[in-house]
């Protein structure tokens, strides 16, 4: 059984940013099992949610990390 060939979004949370805005904290899971964190500002976070068709933070999980770059989303 093979795992995903590239990093995917493993989870998302809202956090307070340095400038007092709400930011999106994305946890990425890499094929080797490692995890990393990416923080997106409000506009980018909302764009990602829209691009992924995610109505809720939890629905970001499983989407490809590439969607952070491409602005479109697929699993």
């Amino acid at each position: 059984m093979s795992g995903p060939a590239e990093a995917v979004i493993a989870g998302a949370e809202i956090a307070a940013g340095h400038d007092g805005s709400a930011e999106l904290v994305l946890r990425l899971r890499y094929p080797n099992g490692g995890q990393g964190v990416v923080v997106l500002e409000a506009d980018k976070g909302l764009e990602l949610m829209a691009a992924c068709g995610a109505a809720h933070l939890d629905e970001l999980a499983g989407h490809s990390w590439r969607k952070l770059l491409e602005g479109t989303c697929s699993t």
Binding site: A16, A22, V37, L46
Partner: protein, 552 residues
């Protein structure tokens, strides 16, 4: 005869040593005696039941512009701060050619949120070089200032438009070195740079176009003076931040300079970040590098209005959909009873009491005065509504221009933050005083240090907390003769009540040029502040003293 004696206080001298009962005498702007002081003075201040401490030093501010019409950097001084470091994050008001002023004004407006009138009406912009700026602020200072010079403006001076387009040539780097040398000779306490900040058009500020060779060359000049390199790393990514720590450490070791970076803050969603950063700092200090992480004391709040979509609603799909619409469509949806009913339903049976009840209505915008400072839960109850409905109705009634604040949403866990602040390699700072003025208050972090981490949680002793923001800060920055109540040191003194010192609630004021708004927090529990031996603040009021200096 002494000029001033502060008598009968608990002397916390900045060294970290145990406090003792005594007096502090001042003559000719300097500490003259500490202990049981006999003899007369022209003025005596009774400090019975109070702490006598060195004035606090705030190492990360953006008061560059405000200092031109407010030499006390209000309200910093009333919080006991007697020395500030402006010019952070690559931006200062000098050196700057007249033709380049609009560019830098835009950058300052982006960071500080100052109204345009602050730059066009509030002062006579008469200088271009750093010495000129130093002289312009020095005329009116009530507080001491240790100014950084900004990498972005040095780049702009030398490269013009190209400063935001490319790396520098060797000749341009050499010219920047000469200019930095001139600024340091004129009183700059170091150089600030940024890998993060944007101008008002969303373009990276000039310092972000520098390559390592440029930073290395400028650090070499800092090494000639033994001065500080301040840096804003890519703090949103802990791995890049750690890489910057390594880079700063190399510069520190190679050129024998201190370096500092900020912000470092703790969030429960990324609990490993701050500990990883501190672990790397420890490793680099063990190699001999000086790479000081600055950490703020205050928690981070989230604020928003319905004028702009916020991720605060990210767990409410319908709210996100409605609020992401263009303004006209958004207003249409928010005026549609069916849509609003469904939005309220989304909050569940409690109508948002848990999620929204604790939101605080902020002032400074269209919010009616009777609501400002109160919780949405209280207001909703009065209106006979659930909080979600009240939030929408209140917003609609005021053109959506009502801001709400969710307090303590980050960097708020005292049990985690306290030990970090107490860490011997953590530099307490990063207040950002004078920045983000229309978004939140950046004043009173020192009061919060004492109220939360000394008095309430006991994470730091009184002596330790004082040392962290006085002697330790002076030593890190090389501010000679400051930060300690020691004979011969500058008589920068704060007298405060250890039982009550705190920051007051945030409130909007309209005291910026052009009646611009900013959020401030008043001081609590600070009785007196002396700057270079003169009483600058006493009994809740500022005096006419202008004894502040540009100090390095």
């Amino acid at each position: 005869m002494f000029d001033v004696i502060v008598r009968n206080g608990l002397v916390v001298d900045g060294s970290g040593e145990k406090a003792f009962k005594g007096d502090v005498a001042v003559k000719d702007g300097l500490i003259a005696a500490v202990g049981e002081v006999s003899g007369p003075a022209r003025r005596e201040i009774d400090a019975g039941g109070r702490v006598i401490a060195p004035g606090f030093i705030d190492p990360h501010t953006h008061f560059d512009v405000q200092l031109l019409w407010d030499g006390a950097a209000r309200p910093a001084l009333e919080h006991g701060v007697t020395c500030i470091v402006p010019g952070n994050c690559s931006l200062s008001l000098a050196p700057l050619k007249a033709a380049d002023r609009p560019k830098v004004v835009g950058m300052f407006q982006q960071i500080e949120e100052m109204p345009p009138e602050a730059f066009t009406q509030a002062f006579d912009w008469s200088w271009e070089d750093f010495a000129g700026y130093r002289d312009a602020i020095a005329r009116n200072l009530s507080i001491n200032v240790a100014p950084l010079v900004g990498h972005s403006v040095i780049r702009l001076w030398v490269m013009g438009e190209a400063a935001q387009q490319r790396t520098a040539t060797p000749a341009e780097i050499a010219a920047m070195q000469d200019l930095l040398r001139e600024c340091l000779a004129a009183g700059a306490v170091g150089l600030s740079t940024s890998f993060v900040d944007l101008d008002e058009h969303g373009r990276p500020v000039p310092s972000r176009f520098a390559d390592f060779a440029e930073l290395d060359a400028l650090s070499a000049v800092l090494g000639e003076f033994g001065r500080m390199l301040q840096c804003v790393p890519e703090f949103y990514d802990v791995d890049i931040t750690i890489a910057r720590i390594d880079q700063l450490s190399e510069l520190s070791l190679k050129h024998a300079i201190p370096t500092t970076f900020s912000p470092v803050f703790d969030n429960t969603s990324t609990p490993d970040n701050a500990p990883r950063i501190l672990a790397r700092v420890e490793e680099q200090f063990a190699r001999g590098a000086r790479v000081w992480p600055q950490m703020q004391t205050r928690p981070i709040d989230i604020s928003f209005s319905l004028l702009r979509p916020s991720l605060f609603f990210a767990r409410l799909p319908r709210w996100v959909r409605v609020l992401r619409q263009p303004l006209e469509a958004r207003l249409h949806s928010l005026n549609d009873p069916d849509t609003v009913a469904k939005m309220v339903e989304d909050l569940g049976p409690d109508g948002g009491r848990k999620m929204m009840g604790g939101l605080i209505v902020r002032g400074g915008d269209a919010a009616p005065a009777e609501m400002v400072g109160r919780t949405l839960g209280e207001i909703a109850a009065e209106r006979g509504q659930v909080p979600a409905q009240a939030l929408i109705d209140i917003s609609l009634a005021h053109g959506l221009d009502v801001a709400f604040l969710a307090a303590d949403m980050g960097h708020e866990d005292t049990d985690r933050i306290g030990p970090m602040l107490a860490h011997p390699l953590v530099h307490i700072g990063a207040s950002d005083g004078g920045a983000h003025i229309a978004s939140f208050s950046t004043y009173g972090d020192t009061g919060y240090l004492f109220s939360e981490f000394v008095r309430k949680s006991g994470r730091l002793s009184l002596e330790h907390a004082v040392r962290k923001i006085t002697a330790e800060t002076a030593d890190i920055w090389g501010l000679k003769g400051r930060g300690r109540l020691t004979p011969g040191h500058a008589a920068d003194i704060v007298v405060f009540d250890p039982a009550t010192i705190d920051r007051a609630e945030e409130r909007p004021v309209f005291d910026m040029p052009g009646e611009g708004m900013r959020y401030v927090r008043d001081a609590r529990g600070v009785d007196a502040v002396l700057v270079n031996g003169e009483v600058a603040y006493l009994g809740g009021a500022y005096t006419d003293a202008k004894s502040g200096v540009v100090c390095v």
